[in-house]
Symmetry: C2
Subunit: 365 residues, 2 copies
């Protein structure tokens, strides 16, 4: 692994001082912002996440604020998912596609009201797309990136830690719902969500100046819960089947390729509708699936690994890592539909050499 | 400095194998792609660049291909710069702004013909903006990211090295013009351009499969020229006053703030026109300037450093580094216009402690 060159362009977050103090070892860059990836080792971080509680600097999940009389109309243009029943305290996973039906991002929309949403984004400058659509359609919506930085609290003890800092009310927040709770006199939106399947919350820290106060309060309150700094963990993510935009899907994929067809439900005239209708008619080109890669622990998957069916490529692996708990290499890949590979061994051309893999029916967790 | 976590999302390039073989020490991430930043030390890399010739993997300067009958109309919407006199073999520096007049990117447009351009981008997903504008205005233009990866050859011996690989024709390419030249039977666009002031070329490598052949050919041909792998060098960049989008300017700045007012020249009804006309009328809010920071060599500028005028902030430093040749800390910053700081010492609150700075009339080179 090489070093990462610091610059203003790779933005720090309101929690970076805490992250450094906790001894961060590695970062990735996500939405042109530093995202801590490792504090001990990937395996040790994963084991801790599954047993205790972690605080994650996920400020890189930037918010796009869309606000104005046309906000509802804009949101209906932006996603193939039906938003008509979305409540004011609700978070929706909303795949967004371009005019060709290709995935531009898979954000979470947070509804404040009919004329105000936040779009909490995965790794692409979706704000530019939204601004372009607003300019082109001449909509009356203000688009901006507010000073809002999510901080995630994840792990089986997350409810206990959060209750100590935000009060017992946090326990009754339902999955993908939020409440407005108070911290040091400031009201923050707290949702039951996060990029792990260990349970927990995301706090939308509105105003970077309170970032370190909140960070310190969580660590002070959680000492006996063995709270630690963490981040989205590759092992836990792949075991759980959580997709990563830019890794497991790009704008070359439709939602159907990604197993997200159930989110193509809107009756509105959204952008990409005719492209997606054509795909729906002829069927998806690829199927995203969990794959076990046989043999010894495998090195990092830093590029797409072709999946071969004889001499032709029938798919690719895009995330892979050794899982101590599953006692195998866990992976995510896409396989061309119609190729009869599902029940048999597949050959994967990793850049570490060829390996045999097996497509599974379900993720590990 | 921490490590960088490899993943498919941080894309490798057609030249990554060569970069690794050359012993890359550090990367930054640029357009979600790996950009090598250091091979020896920043100072040694800089000294070599000024004396010899370097090959830079700048594949991260991704191309947006815009192609179709409305390409000219689209380009006129996208930039405040007048493109009406642009020739078919010409490259134009084209700041692009949103509807608020804020800088979205400062790419180089490469004109193929009236219905086909490449936009060679700085660090933001400008493709999403372009696609959004196309969708909203209903233009007949296809927008894509082709498999084109620039490779830069920079330094005083660049002409000699390039002539050995592409023939003597390269010597007559004028600044910001290009020729189509042959390499191993393939025709590649070669422009006299690049992100240094040491002279040189950018080769638009069309088709990743020939990337390493070209890399190897350049190193084989340049052994006696002391050719080495390099990358955009922070010291040389700041000395030369080359701006970096995301560092020295963001979408919070207009072209006027950035000293790019001369590129606001279009008579077309481009996006952001009314916002920029308002700015032109009242004058720019900031002025971008070279700043010498006094005292010992200063640490990295990984966040904006406030420039203070008494107790109030009057600007910020966004790039800074020790220059062995200038024998001082060279920096780029923006200062609020109208504040009478230009002739006197200014106080800079670096995160390493306060420093005194002096605004200069010109960059160092």
């Amino acid at each position: 692994m090489a070093l990462i060159s610091p610059s203003r362009r790779l933005r720090r977050t309101p929690f970076s001082d805490g992250v450094e103090r906790a001894g961060v070892k590695a970062y990735t860059v996500y939405n042109r912002m530093l995202l801590p990836t490792m504090f001990d080792s990937m395996a040790a971080d994963c084991a801790h996440l599954k047993s205790h509680v972690q605080v994650w600097d996920v400020a890189c999940e930037r918010q796009i604020s869309v606000k104005g009389p046309d906000a509802n109309r804009l949101m209906a243009l932006l996603t193939p998912r039906d938003l008509s029943k979305m409540a004011d305290d609700q978070c929706y996973y909303v795949p967004m596609v371009d005019q060709y039906g290709g995935m531009l991002n898979d954000p979470v929309a947070v509804k404040h009201s009919d004329d105000h949403y936040w779009i909490s984004i995965a790794d692409s400058d979706l704000r530019l797309w939204v601004k372009g659509v607003v300019a082109g359609f001449g909509l009356d919506v203000d688009v901006s990136e507010p000073d809002v930085s999510p901080l995630a609290v994840q792990g089986p003890k997350a409810d206990d830690l959060m209750a100590r800092v935000f009060g017992e009310d946090v326990r009754s927040i339902r999955f993908f719902r939020y409440k407005r709770l108070s911290f040091q006199g400031k009201t923050l939106l707290v949702a039951r969500s996060g990029f792990s399947k260990q349970g927990g919350f995301e706090i939308y820290v509105d105003g970077g100046e309170i970032g370190m106060s909140l960070w310190d309060a969580l660590f002070a309150a959680g000492a006996d819960l063995n709270v630690r700094a963490g981040g989205p963990n590759l092992i836990e993510r792949v075991e759980s089947g959580l997709l990563s935009y830019g890794n497991d899907m790009t704008d070359q994929n439709t939602p159907f390729d990604c197993g997200l067809g159930k989110f193509v439900s809107s009756n509105a005239d959204y952008i990409g509708r005719s492209a997606l209708e054509r795909v729906a008619e002829r069927g998806a080109e690829f199927a995203l699936c969990p794959i076990e890669i046989l043999g010894e622990p495998i090195g990092v998957c830093d590029r797409a690994w072709p999946i071969m069916g004889g001499s032709s490529k029938v798919g690719q692996v895009t995330s892979a890592v050794w899982s101590p708990d599953a006692n195998c290499n866990v992976a995510i890949g896409m396989v061309r539909t119609g190729d009869a590979v599902a029940s048999s061994n597949i050959e994967i051309n990793t850049h570490h050499g060829p390996r045999i893999g097996q497509i599974r029916d379900a993720f590990w967790k």
